[in-house]
Symmetry: C2
Subunit: 139 residues, 2 copies
């Protein structure tokens, strides 16, 4: 379904990555619905846009201050005409730990539910999981 | 919305936990749509029910063989009458690492998208993220 809708949904993901890389958390948070859920790579669960913006603003002043997202893979599935589930594989580089030590680049996998609302497409739920360096047996 | 539909959606989550604890991956996989996406705590992304069942069967023969899920919190949101997003906080205990060493209990946060289909409610996307023991600043 390479349509105008798919382009609009992909534009949300592009804007997510672009605003992350510019550390513009106001723009990034505006991609989410007011009551959106966001589960970050640390397993923190934020339940509205304001909490998402507040947390990410703090992180982008510290551990993610010089971090950068690079898109590796994006897959869009429309489960309804006005609802898409997007899976994205993204590399995070330039992050530091709590002590300020540089962390090696790592991959994350994101599931995002994106819905068409009156003002355009917005994220209603997003979760990010780090790809473990050490995998369990037989994967 | 404490309705019959919410009860049906919660029953999917209960069945997910119950079949995990009985290590019955056939039953667990049957909760997913044939083309469902599943991102596990290790950041592996499985793109259909068969891949999900195969991977979880291998894990439940090894690292998750004696593991147990305990539900800590479940929140259900209906974004459409036939589509719910469920967030669950679950404790995993009894897991071992690749070397067979017992791991301490840990929490995971799950985002699950559950849709009503002809045969009842089924999972179309699910992602699990471990709650990090060490959190970044200011959370």
């Amino acid at each position: 379904m390479a349509t105008q809708d798919e382009a609009a949904v992909r534009a949300v993901i592009e804007a997510f990555i672009d605003s992350w890389n510019r550390h513009d958390m106001r723009t990034l948070a505006a991609l989410f619905a007011a009551d959106a859920d966001f589960v970050d790579v640390f397993g923190n669960w934020f339940r509205d846009r304001k909490s998402i913006e507040r947390a990410l603003t703090q992180r982008h002043a510290t551990v993610f201050r010089s971090s950068r997202f690079t898109e590796k893979d994006v897959a869009v599935r429309f489960h309804k005409p006005d609802l898409a589930i997007v899976h994205a594989v993204i590399e995070l580089s330039g992050a530091v730990d709590r002590q300020g030590q540089q962390l090696p680049p790592g991959l994350g996998v994101i599931t995002s539910v994106i819905e068409r609302a009156a003002g355009g497409w917005h994220i209603i739920a997003l979760q990010n999981t780090s790809v473990a360096a050490q995998q369990p047996p037989a994967t």
